[in-house]
């Protein structure tokens, strides 16, 4: 049984089909990439997975359980963690307090255990020495790390990462890649959205390509990058941009 099974998922915004008839499965332990041009519907898909958007149609199953109707908090409790594309730390809290929210209410444990786990996650993400810094005073790299740390603190079995590399310098991105690998090795299945192709090549076991809300290819990195439809989609947007 797949850890995550998405079946014929669609989302309409008014007349716009942001996601259309999307089906895919993610096996336990895998690192799964979703790529595609801007506006392809990647973030919309993650929003439906984490329970922030209700699909127009289709179903989502986690570990065989249909979670389509569950609230975001309930999905978190079933092991779904999420880092946002647009970082949004709780600005009035310190770094430690931000992570504590996930450790307390996502992982549902006592305050003392939550604090221990928070420190472990901060250590893992390289934020420990910043624990008492206000989340408002972080650099972009630190904010991205905090975004991941908060998601990790909820104890996910499946972690959704939305463009965590965007805006990072190559060296920083390399560090983030290492972090994601470590997290995956510790037993967390990962779905990530990414525009930086070398990162996708280095990380992904399986790649799903979306364009205009529909899946156009799925396979290994090499398979999908050879796919004429994929090349067309990417060249197409380049022409649009030019």
């Amino acid at each position: 049984m797949s850890l995550l099974k998405v079946s014929r998922l669609s989302k309409q915004f008014g007349g716009l089909n942001a996601v259309q008839n999307l089906s895919f499965s993610v096996e336990e332990g895998m690192i799964f990439a979703i790529i595609g041009p801007n506006g392809a519907g990647k973030t919309t898909t993650l929003n439906m997975l984490s329970g922030l958007l209700t699909p127009t149609s289709g179903t989502i199953a986690l570990n065989g359980q249909d979670i389509t109707q569950l609230t975001a908090a309930a999905r978190c409790h079933l092991g779904l963690g999420r880092a946002f594309q647009v970082v949004q730390p709780f600005p009035e809290m310190t770094v430690e307090e931000n992570v504590m929210v996930g450790a307390l209410f996502g992982a549902r444990q006592s305050k003392q255990l939550a604090l221990n786990q928070t420190h472990a996650v901060l250590e893992q993400t390289g934020l420990l020495r910043l624990k008492d810094t206000s989340a408002d005073d972080l650099t972009l790299l630190q904010e991205k790390r905090l975004e991941i740390a908060r998601a990790l603190a909820t104890h996910p079995s499946l972690l959704l990462l939305d463009e965590v590399m965007a805006g990072l310098r190559p060296k920083e991105a390399q560090e983030a890649v290492e972090l994601i690998k470590t997290v995956n090795t510790s037993g967390v299945t990962i779905i990530f959205i990414e525009h930086v192709m070398p990162v996708v090549r280095d990380l992904a076991d399986q790649v799903l390509v979306m364009d205009y809300g529909t899946p156009i290819a799925e396979g290994s990195y090499h398979e999908v990058t050879q796919n004429p439809q994929v090349i067309q989609a990417y060249l197409g947007t380049d022409e649009d941009a030019a």
């Binding site: 984490s50 329970g51 922030l52 609230t71 975001a72 908090a73 978190c76 409790h77 999420r82 946002f84 949004q88 709780f90 600005p91 009035e92 809290m93 307090e97 504590m100 929210v101 996930g102 307390l104 209410f105 996502g106 992982a107 549902r108 305050k111 939550a114 908060r150 998601a151 603190a153 909820t154």
Partner: protein, 332 residues
Amino acid sequence: MKLRMNLVLLALAAVLLFFLPDLLKLFFDKASVSYLSLLINATSLAILALSWDILARTGQLSLAHAAFFGAGAYSTAILVKQTDVSLWLGLPLAALSAVLLALLLGSVTLQLRGIYFAIATLSFAEVLKAVIQKLPSSLAGGAAGINVEPLFRPQFIAGEMERWEIAFLRNESYFLLYAGLLLATIVLSLLIESSSLSYAFSAIRTNEEVAAVMGVKAARFKLLAFVLSSMPVGILGAIQAHRIGSVSPDETFNVGTTVLALVTPIFGGLYTSLGPILGALGLASIEEFLRRTFSEGYLIGYGIVLVLSILFMPKGIMGLLRSLRKAQRESL
């Protein structure tokens, strides 16, 4: 650790408050009666403000606190009028009716944010007032309201006591009751601050969606905040009904109560235990000072002070203290 220290401080404050009326009498004689009235006003404002702040910590800026106050006042007034039970039973009943009302209002406004939430809560309070007015007058007294027996009847010993001494006794008893309720509200607020609730409240206030994705069941915590916030206000309404001696739709469901409930914590500093209390002490003293200085039209002066303070201290007294402390630390 910090909680324990605060509770010790609070116990000291309790002892001080207990002896305060006698100290005032010792030093100020007859004038102690009006000082006690001022203290009662400040204490009652502090209870209202701190309770309002507890709800605000979840991002819910309520305009319904007059409704919780009124529900407490009216349930007590009706109980006292219709039955012979002990007057004191009115207080838990007041808490209960405020809580029920809070659960009802809280559940219908769960999805509302910002101005929509504010309008919904304000309308709720107005509707409740209208309902009370329309209830059979044998039950709720209609537009004229109901008289409420006092909780305390000081014994008048003819020839041995002056008039003001009786007024003092009356004020003293009420002051101790208000002070007790305030201390209980502060303990409640401190417990929230030091528990994991504070993380949930603050996360929901700043970003409910992210909080939900991190496992915070926002609806549950928002309702809980409604319940905790409404309880002291309901009891306050009941005590006030006894002290004033009557309830009526216009006096008891006064928009002024709602306005004070939100202005005071803003003036003192939001989302803390100390801020609303400092705000209440500050506003009650300023109001009293202006009233004595300008008797006529002092409310205009009061309004100007409020506007200026919000302009120049956007984070309230607490914000001012924080920046002073920071400046001091940096100059060292």
